[in-house]
């Protein structure tokens, strides 16, 4: 399959990339890992007249803790995130997530920022970042703008990024002691999008009750879904089996799946309930219940 013709532009700096974006407006797309965009171009669902390849911009492939955040650079590849010892030790939910995204070849190119900026509710990082209470940094001609992840996903394939802005960094708050998280996904085969998936991140108080709770759902609605009812229910409560089961039910209530090739809506709701139960149980274990 041959994509429609386009002009290829390869800026060396972020300001150069932003100038090109502004110059070409809606006719331009940013090419990062390309693992979603190129297949869409081959299917001619996406037909950008200009591709702005940001892969040669230096200084965007980092992951570091700084100023109370884990900062993930805009060109951080999924394979690098998955292999990071820092992430594995302190942010196991991110390792879980990277581990089940697509397959090894795709993860070698695909980026964390691209996984968010694409705005696909079937992608895995959106729910995880919502559970973690992350922020994204959008860089435009006026400088940087911080967007809380909860305000980032507007509708199917549509995000709060303005034309002329590039997602240059993802910021995850450094979790307090006694925090843990997990991501559970059911996929029909390696490389498939989730039939459903659930991200859960918790922080426990001295008493063992949950102080902070983040729960979000993948591919059961037009955007990733923050399971607010479940979060509110668990806050201040002990993460025992009964409470986790009740929260999992609330998470399933918040899911808005549609019936498709991956299964009927009822099945997906039931799946969310079970995946939420497993994710919360693992998160609590990792927090040192």
């Amino acid at each position: 399959m041959i994509p429609p013709a386009f002009e290829y532009l390869r800026p060396k700096t972020i300001p150069e990339a932003i100038t090109l974006l502004q110059q070409h407006g809606d006719d331009a797309k940013i090419l990062s890992g390309g693992q979603s965009l190129i297949p869409m171009m081959k299917l001619r669902i996406a037909r950008p007249a200009y591709l702005i390849d940001i892969n040669r911009i230096s200084g965007l492939s980092y992951i570091k803790e700084e100023g109370g955040f884990l900062k993930i650079g805009g060109l951080m590849r999924e394979a690098e995130l998955e292999a990071s010892p820092l992430v594995r030790a302190k942010y196991p939910i991110l390792t879980d997530t990277a581990h089940v995204i697509a397959d090894p070849q795709v993860r070698n190119l695909a980026t964390v920022a691209g996984n968010l900026a694409h705005g696909d509710p079937a992608n895995d990082h959106p729910a995880t970042m919502i559970a973690l209470g992350a922020q994204v940094v959008a860089t435009g001609s006026g400088g940087e703008r911080i967007i809380p992840i909860e305000e980032f996903f507007l509708s199917l394939f549509s995000t709060a990024l303005q034309p002329g802005e590039i997602l240059t960094e993802v910021r995850v708050p450094v979790p307090p002691p006694r925090s843990g998280g997990a991501y559970f996904k059911l996929e029909r085969k390696v490389g498939d999008f989730a039939t459903a998936a659930v991200a859960a991140q918790v922080t426990l108080e001295g008493s063992g009750a949950a102080q902070k709770v983040g729960i979000a759902l993948t591919n059961v609605g037009p955007t990733p879904i923050k399971a607010k009812k479940a979060e509110d229910f668990l806050r201040g409560k002990k993460l025992d089996d009964a409470n986790i089961r009740q929260a999992a039910q609330f998470a399933a209530d918040d899911a808005q799946p549609s019936s498709d090739l991956r299964g009927p809506a009822d099945y997906k709701k039931a799946l969310v309930k079970e995946l939420a139960r497993r994710a919360l149980t693992r998160a609590a274990e990792r927090a040192g219940k």
């Binding site: 399959m1 386009f6 693992q35 297949p39 697509a102 070849q105 795709v106 070698n108 190119l109 390696v190």
Partner: protein
Amino acid sequence: MAKKQLITVRVNGRERESAVEPRLLLVHFIRESLQLTGTHIGCDTSHCGACTVILNGKTVKSCTMFAVQADGCEILTVESLMSASGQLHALQEGFKQEHGLQCGFCTPGMLMSSYALLHNNPNPSEEEIRRGISGNLCRCTGYQNIVSAVQYAAAKMAKIESEAHVAEGVAQ
């Protein structure tokens, strides 16, 4: 038609220069411009991994990348595995000895994913092998013999390595 762009790519150790249309996929560049037809196009939709090549040390699906993106990069295709004297690579020998292929269509991609796997992890467990080739589909073998082939190659490469160390010791 968009303006062609000049790219320079090092493929299997040989520098290749070419003017390409930006929309030319890397796999078409490799197969048609360079006439290296060992790399296969299977699904053409990023699923099957038959088109896997190694770009700057990492496996990528060459159907999901533009040739122009590879400008200045180093690429290894399946043609790089056999030695100049015609000796098969341990992986190729493993696939032959263990019946790691039937129709053979997925084999170039399987070989390149396995090559990258053994490069990073010379002694992988069965689970690590299965995960390492999880981006490559095979519709014939059921994978069992492919796993055996990679295990065969890992053992053979370890043996070659240890013999080389012994020879080095003797020489000293």
